[in-house]
């Protein structure tokens, strides 16, 4: 299991990266972040780029910063750094929780936030969390910089809206409204596996009534999915078991063409999407209720 031959470069600046992308056919270049998804693909010869461009030495892509709007994470920040960040734990416990559900420590030591976003694995935790947190992803190319809402970023199975000459540089996560409840759950065959299906939700409660609920599911469809119609069904309703069950059923029904493989049939995935959405909504509601009484 050895990769096909390729050239390797490791520039130290973003402009260096863009220059190299400009000099080569970008379709022949593969950007490498932590290599946790890319290296197996190279070694199995499923990916055969002429050039591997390692982002590991590029300065200023590895950071976690607080801004007025929220938190900004550099694309090359490792999951381990997120896990160790008090800022993330305080500001975005949901993002923190989803981080420690990814793989095992050795994978988190190398795997990056940007790499997971760009990989767009449908069973990956981050894209779903980016959806409910309404994160924005920033990409640069020789043509300039653009900011992409998470909703537009993830296109389908292992595909984002990034052009081959674009580099993801950072992820911006806006601050949640005060007293927002959140939850994150997944069903995986083993601890640390990619999820069969997972769900995440945020939700406020005012006098027992759901405010601005957001729901996302991963592992069910060709990408992380958000469910606006289920959200509006819940918004303004009391977060009772009955309502939540109805919302969960709507989510399950709304999953189009669920994935189907040796471990989980389409049926089972659809069913799990409903079960897990029910569970995260209940859990988020409890958190929201606690936050309101605590305040």
């Amino acid at each position: 299991m050895k990769s096909a031959p390729f050239e390797y470069v490791a520039p130290s600046t973003i402009s260096g990266v863009l220059e190299i992308l400009g000099q080569n056919d970008p379709d022949e270049v593969k950007l490498m972040a932590g290599g946790q998804s890319l290296m197996p693909l190279l070694n199995m010869r499923l990916s055969r780029p002429a050039l591997v461009l390692d982002l590991g030495r590029v300065a200023d892509l590895d950071f976690i910063r607080e801004t007025d709007q929220g938190v900004v994470i550099g694309a090359m920040t490792t999951k381990r750094a997120v896990e160790d960040s008090e800022l993330i734990l305080r500001e975005h416990p949901l993002f923190w929780e989803s981080t420690v559900a990814i793989g095992h420590p050795p994978i988190r030591n190398r795997g990056t936030v940007g790499g997971s976003m760009a990989q767009a694995d449908p069973a990956s935790e981050y894209p779903a969390v980016a959806l409910v947190l309404e994160a924005e992803l920033v990409a640069v190319s020789a043509r300039g910089e653009r900011t992409i809402p998470a909703d537009d970023f993830f296109v389908t199975y292992l595909t984002t809206c990034l052009e081959p000459d674009e580099v993801l540089t950072e992820i911006r996560i806006p601050r949640l409204a005060p007293r927002t409840g959140w939850a994150f759950q997944e069903v995986a065959r083993r601890h640390g596996d990619f999820a069969i299906v997972g769900a995440t939700a945020t939700l406020g409660l005012e006098a027992g009534v759901a405010v601005e609920p957001r729901i996302a599911v991963f592992g069910a469809g060709d990408r992380a999915l958000r469910f606006p119609s289920a959200e509006s069904l819940l918004a303004g309703q009391p977060a009772t078991d009955e309502v939540i069950d109805e919302v969960a059923a709507q989510v399950a029904a709304a999953v189009e063409d669920p994935l189907d493989d040796a471990h989980a049939s389409a049926d089972y995935r659809r069913h799990l999407a409903g079960v897990l959405v029910g569970r995260v909504l209940r859990e988020a509601a409890v958190r929201a209720a606690e936050a309101s009484t605590g305040a």
Binding site: M1, A4, H104, V187, R190, D193, I196, D261, H263, Y268
Partner: protein
């Protein structure tokens, strides 16, 4: 003076054993855990080449052409071999039922995905893999067969051209009046079960370096090889060489569990070496190759079972029908997995009559190989489910139902219906111990509460026999006559009194080198540091089979103690000469030779050894002056199989009872193991820590079998689980905390009374976990009959049971 191998700890020549029977720190761990011992991939030989293998993407296809020209022209490529070379220089695999082996590289047709079709030797593995992409193979796809029931039909595609059927063996073994027992039974229970294909996954896959000297035709193979002696005999047969022309140098390796087949890749590297005039050729199987086409898939089984029970709840008969899907060809001894259950067919029970309807079937999947336990674990899975089905139906507690069917402790040695003899046992005591350890009645009380809350909590009680110390005679019934399984050791004392023990098996992680140190230390009054264990190549080592069939701990104990006895005997004669007495008057205890009735007249082992070597001139000419001896141990009293396959095969019968508590999430089908308790009896525990370690690892593999592991093939025999993303082994996070207790009923037949225990818990764990799951499901009126109990499968069962229940409610 005859030598007598001590039958129990009291017979060792020591006032009190200081090491045997204790959990001493293992001598091999530092080297293995730090990776400082030399693994085969560390070995670099002069002028060495690297091999990569091109594999079939088709499960079944005719090969109409192989073009290797472009590959041969690639810079760095030294040679390419194809099926033509294999047919010219080698024979089909000898490790299969006769007529069912194939060559190591496919000839006219491929029989499974991953079958080698060509191979390259090149300056590096990378170049070799580049060259594979330049080989052009023309395939004409043929219809594959993935289902053994289809494969048995006359209209099925034919897997092997050389055969007229896909049925390798179709035989019914009947032991006693089975029809009578079923006719007279008060209750008959019947059920079907499915055990899906799974297998061994050692940390290190197979690897080898082969050198085929073109002048002498000597074949030298370095490798990570579980049974070097057997492996050498196999290569000699495959290449039609005299067995003394093949030398195997086995390196320490990262586990095996039976999965280190690797013979095809090894044979291919031998062919390549021959083609490049004897340059060494290294082949390291990578994990992708291992999972797709290695020696690690086993037990792809369909069972149909019936149990006869009399009015008192005593099991009076057992019928097991097994359709064993062995994959494309027989090879790597996979077929004998179906024969081994005869060594413990009726488990720990008195079931007097039994029948085995056995069909070995070929399909277009990877040939099955050995796996820890070698066949009985699925057999006990079905037997124990049947015991629960009977107990539940008769309203009896599963523990007590088993107890009343146990072979009583005073009936050993006990011959079971399928012919093997159990050495000893105390099954009621083992059960009592684990009932107490788990606080069984409290578990049941908690279950009642949980059920009242609608939770699916279950408690499984299961037990099994682990046949230990195997002998080939057990396997003749599936057409696989063997060569015997000797185990030898040479013990040598040097001029300063330190001991070196030469053996023929390599480090694999089970702690046998430590055991050797313990034995020699207690025998000669040494410290373990005074004992060194050295492994030799197969042309230099004493005869050895090595680990396998839960035998090595017992066998090496016999070999080492036998060699120590021979040295003691020789030394007693020397001491008699030096003390001007007769050997009968020389006594040996705690490392000292003394003269009877002459207090103070004593010599230590070191003094005797030093005298023998430094002053051999003092010895009478008929005494060999080397303080060295070799002993070759084999199990006594094994018998050939009779016409119904009955034989005294495995020498020991260890026993364990496991009690497991699980909870199933009814909405997701996920199983959580909440308690795991076990009691086991493997006779004298030579090193209790080692037994515990073996048990822990084996429980985890058993949990993998029950919940996770499965090689999935689609209907067209395409493998779907070809990486660790899809083939799910348990990790440390999936391992429950184990609560364990030991019972020691020594074997009357073995050195020191120890029994085989290396395969261990995997015999019981899948059964126990499945019993617990089915106990949890019982209130829903459904049960799981397929392993692994994957969440999707359980969810479906639960859903269907609930739908049935609500349909019934609606009907009323």
């Amino acid at each position: 003076m005859a030598i007598e191998i001590p039958k129990n700890l009291d017979e060792l020549p020591t006032t009190r054993p200081r090491y045997v029977g204790r959990g001493i720190r293992r001598v091999e761990d530092v080297g293995l855990l730090t990776g400082r011992v030399e693994f085969v991939d560390d070995v670099v030989l002069p002028r060495m080449l690297h091999c990569a293998i091109l594999r079939s993407p088709f499960p079944h296809a005719r090969i109409t052409g192989v073009d290797t020209q472009a590959a041969e022209a690639l810079e760095g490529v030294a040679a390419v071999v194809t099926g033509e070379d294999a047919r010219r220089w080698s024979l089909p695999a000898q490790s299969s039922p006769e007529g069912w082996g194939t060559h190591c590289i496919a000839g006219d047709k491929v029989h499974y995905v991953g079958e080698p079709v060509a191979a390259v030797a090149a300056s590096s593995r990378r170049v070799a893999e580049d060259a594979l992409e330049l080989i052009e193979v023309d395939y004409e796809p043929l219809e594959p067969v993935a289902d053994p029931f289809k494969a048995m039909k006359p209209e099925s595609p034919q897997v092997l051209d050389a055969q007229e059927t896909n049925v390798m063996l179709d035989r019914v073994f009947t032991w006693g009046d089975v029809d009578g027992a079923f006719a007279e039974a008060a209750h008959v229970f019947q059920e079907k079960f499915r055990w899906n294909r799974l297998g061994a996954n050692p940390t290190e896959t197979f690897g080898c370096i082969s050198e085929w000297d073109p002048m002498s035709l000597d074949l030298t193979i370095h490798g990570s090889i579980q049974s070097p002696g057997m492996f050498g005999l196999g290569r000699a047969a495959t290449f039609s060489l005299p067995s003394n022309k093949v030398n195997i140098i086995s390196h320490a390796h990262g586990g095996s569990f039976g999965g280190k087949g690797g013979t095809r890749g090894c044979d291919i590297s031998c062919l390549l070496s021959r083609k490049v005039d004897g340059r060494p050729v290294k082949w390291i199987e990578d994990r992708g190759e291992y999972l797709l086409s290695g020696g690690g898939q086993a037990w792809d089984r369909h069972y149909e079972v019936a149990l006869a029970v009399d009015a008192q709840g005593i099991v009076s008969g057992l019928k097991v029908g097994l359709v064993d899907d062995l994959g494309a060809t027989g090879e790597a001894y996979g077929a004998i997995s179906a024969a081994k259950p005869l060594a413990a067919f009726t488990g720990p029970y008195t079931i007097p009559v039994a029948q085995y309807d056995l069909k070995l079937v070929a399909t277009n999947k990877l040939p099955c190989g050995p796996y820890r336990g070698m066949g009985p674990p699925p057999h006990f899975f079905v037997l124990e489910q049947m015991m629960d089905i009977a107990a539940r139906s008769l309203g009896e507690d599963p523990a007590e139902f088993r107890r009343k069917n146990f072979i009583p402790a005073d009936q050993f040695p006990y011959t079971i219906a399928s012919g093997n003899e159990y050495d000893s046992g105390n099954y009621g005591e083992v059960l009592d111990q684990v009932l107490a350890l788990s606080d069984y009645s409290a578990l049941r009380a908690a279950q009642v509460e949980a059920r009242a809350e609608g939770r699916l909590v279950g408690v499984g009680v299961a037990n099994a026999i682990e046949p230990g110390v195997f002998d080939w005679n057990a396997y003749a019934i599936v057409g696989m006559p063997g060569t015997g399984v000797p185990e030898g050791a040479t013990v040598n004392i040097d001029i300063l009194g330190n001991a070196t023990v030469r053996v023929g098996f390599s480090l694999e992680g089970q702690g046998q080198y430590t055991l050797v140190c313990q034995l020699v230390a207690d025998y000669f009054g040494y410290e373990p540091e005074n004992v060194r264990v050295v492994q030799l190549d197969t042309q230099s080592a004493p005869p050895s089979f090595g680990p396998g069939g839960s035998r090595l701990g017992v066998a090496i104990t016999g070999a080492v103690l036998g060699a120590c006895e021979r040295i003691r005997e020789k030394m007693a004669r020397v001491v008699a000469v030096l003390m001007q007495s007769e050997p009968e008057n020389i006594e040996f205890m705690d490392g000292k030779f003394t003269l009877k009735g002459a207090p103070g007249a004593e010599m230590t082992v070191a003094e005797v050894a030093g005298t023998m070597l430094a002053r051999s001139d003092l010895l009478p000419p008929d005494i060999d002056p080397r303080p060295e001896a070799t002993h070759v141990w084999t199990a006594a009293g094994r018998t050939p199989a009779d016409e119904e396959g009955r034989a005294k095969s495995y020498l020991t019968a260890a026993h364990a009872v496991h009690i497991v508590q699980v909870e199933i999430d009814p909405e997701t089908g996920m199983v959580e193991i909440q308690r795991y308790c076990l009691a086991d009896d493997c006779g004298t525990r030579l090193n209790p820590d080692t037994v515990e370690g073996q048990t822990e690892g084996s429980v985890v593999q058993g949990i993998g079998a029950a919940l996770l592991e499965e090689y999935v093939y689609d209907e067209d025999a395409q493998p779907l689980t070809t990486s660790f993303m899809d083939y799910l082994m348990p990790t440390v996070f999936d391992a429950p905390k184990l609560e364990m207790v030991a019972v020691e009923t020594p074997s009357p037949f073995t050195p020191l009374g120890a029994k085989g225990c290396g395969e261990g818990a995997i015999h019981t764990t899948p059964a126990a976990v499945m019993c617990a799951i089915n106990d949890a499901l019982a209130p829903l009126g459904t049960s799981a009959r397929e392993v692994p109990a994957a969440p999707m499968r359980l969810w479906k069962l639960i859903k269907e049971a609930r739908e049935r229940a609500s349909d019934e409610n609606n009907n009323y």
